[in-house]
Amino acid sequence: MDEGEIQQRARTFVARVDTRNIKDDLSVYLKEANAILLKDRMGHGESGTTLTRSDGKHIITVNEVESEERQRFTVCHEIAHIVLALPSSHDGVPSWSYAKRHPNEIACDWFAAELLMPYKLWLAALPKGEPSRAVIEYMAGEFRCSYPAAASRYAGLATMPCAFVTMEHGTVRYAARSMSLRRTKAWIPPRTPIPEGSVAHRLRGEGGSQLDTAEVAQDIWLQDWESGLDLWEMSRHYGSSDTTTSLLWFEEEVLPEREFDRFGRQVKEDEGLAELTGELPWPGKSRRG
């Protein structure tokens, strides 16, 4: 199942319920998924589980020790397991390896984002203008989700070329890209060190928890990319968990024009026609006059 199919299934699911009150209450989703919610003190690192009874009822348990925002995301993630009928891996998942996460878990996160931040409500609530800390925090508050969840959603639904990069312990784990950025095949490779020269690299080097925005060269972040063009990077580093996030965006006009053939290969520009000199190329000089 690819991201587009999951998005479609999630939007079909959302369309069946009344989402007006989901900021305060996710019970409409639970009811639609034939699930009930329990809260429990779970171990450190455990966010939630789903068990299915023989009567078909699904019991979602979330860790009440975790933040309200994370509990809400977990509820939606567990509903995704139910609706998509995806099992989860029993292997422990090392926190340093989002890129190695089981594909089912990544798929359920995509689905959960659609439930927690339905795109129609999102677009209706989104302030106009460029992204900023205030905009992301406002959207996180509107949908009662975490800052990274809101920033990731921002990138995914942005009309401008935009990406949200999650990094842990100095390594890129995942990048959510807007449709316009995906079209240009802009690629931020996971499991690579945070690139030097980026705001994220600087903030992590400085330690502590802080946020900063600056212009950086596009080819710092994007693989196989033209140099000489800039993008905006709003980065946030969380010292306690050694987690860094970066929202990257740029205007259409500063994107290099990249053309791809039907096999997805980049069409290299040739040199084009030679500059006109006013001299006819034929007949040869030796035969003229």
Binding site: M42, S47, L51, S54, P94
Partner: protein, 128 residues
């Protein structure tokens, strides 16, 4: 890689204090094949073969039901299987419910905690 079925067969064989060769001889099944089943290198044995193995192992009804269920569940968690086989109070319904659990987070509960949660979920009010 270990499989739930392999772990169950080994645990039940050891409970009968049989070596793999003795198990093979009594069931008239190639002991090398049994070894591969136990190690998770072979999967999906036929129902006839499973019935033969179970008759030699002289399992009770619950353990036999667990083994038969595991034949069709190659991804079952081996540690949970071992725990349940050692705890006769866990019913087959509780076991299958626990085996189908979905998680979120980077830590997993122990089998004992998982069974405890299953029991709480079974009793959870449908109107909650």
């Amino acid at each position: 890689m270990q499989s739930g079925l392999g772990v169950a067969l080994r645990r039940l064989r050891e409970r009968r204090t049989l070596s793999i060769r003795e198990f093979g001889r009594l069931s008239e099944i190639d002991h090398a094949y049994i070894y591969r089943l136990e190690m998770g290198e072979k999967s999906s044995p036929s129902s006839e073969l499973v019935a033969t193995l179970l008759s030699v192992l002289k399992t009770n009804a619950r353990d036999a039901a667990i083994v038969k269920w595991l034949v069709h569940q190659p991804d079952a968690w081996p540690e949970l299987v071992e725990y349940v086989l050692d705890d006769p109070s866990v019913t087959i319904d509780e076991f299958t419910m626990a085996a189908g659990v979905r998680h979120r987070g980077n830590a997993r509960p122990t089998p004992a905690i998982l069974i405890e949660r299953v029991r709480r979920a079974v009793g959870a009010d449908a109107t909650e």
